[in-house]
Amino acid sequence: MQAQVGDQIVIRGHRIGEPDRDCEVLEVHGEQGEAPYVVRWGDDGHESLFFPGPDATVKHLHGAAD
């Protein structure tokens, strides 16, 4: 996965009825857009390091291709 600052990462729900989650990429710590990423979760602004697995997809919100 490659992402850039401002992208949104969506993590699909793992169980039936579990909602998808999403976070915003604040910093890219890997080389050439690779993980890990510092992300912000939701409106309350909690940040963490994120290591995307196969359950995660990136949405480029600023026009760049995946």
Binding site: I11, G13, H14, E18, R21, C23, H29, A35, P36, W41, G42, D44, H46, S48, L49, F50, F51, P52, G53, P54, D55, A56
Partner: protein, 148 residues
């Protein structure tokens, strides 16, 4: 299969200086039950939802307690390049349900018992499929050499 390929869920990590309250909210937002606790990218320990119950709520610690004061350590880990079969032995020996996956000393993801179960069941389904087809549609003979 290497351990890195068996990871089915994204890993989430938190800095050691952050609070248990933040850890709980990140777990809720990210939909995970365990966070890696890291410092400069290196794994120090893990904090689980159970840690928050037993070492924070039950112990009446405040929500602003540092997360590294309640994390579990030392942590049993597996190298990203190790064969995933080693994980079965580690889970059996240590009785934990999550195994941080490391690349060198750096955390890259969390392998869970659930991940291994899903992989095993996927393999079983692949094995059962032809047997089921045979039971329903009858035995399929392999082609015989043509006689001249």
């Amino acid at each position: 299969m290497q351990a890195r390929a068996a990871i089915r869920r994204s890993g989430v990590a938190i800095g050691a200086e952050r609070t248990v309250g933040e850890a709980a909210r990140i777990m809720e937002r990210a939909g995970v039950g365990a966070l890696a606790v890291v410092e400069d990218g290196e794994l120090l320990g893990i904090v689980t939802d159970r840690d928050l119950v037993t070492r924070v709520l039950a112990a009446r610690r405040p929500a602003d307690a540092r997360v590294d004061s309640v994390m579990s350590m030392p942590v049993v880990t597996i190298d990203a390049d190790d064969d995933v079969n080693q994980a079965f032995g580690l889970f059996r020996t240590h009785g934990n349900r999550r195994l941080p996956v490391l690349e060198g000393r750096r955390f890259i993801g969390m392998l869970s018992v659930d991940d291994l179960l899903i992989n095993v069941i996927g393999d079983l389904v692949d094995l059962v499929r032809p047997v089921t087809a045979e039971a329903i549609f009858g035995h399929r003979d392999s082609p015989t050499p043509a006689y001249r």
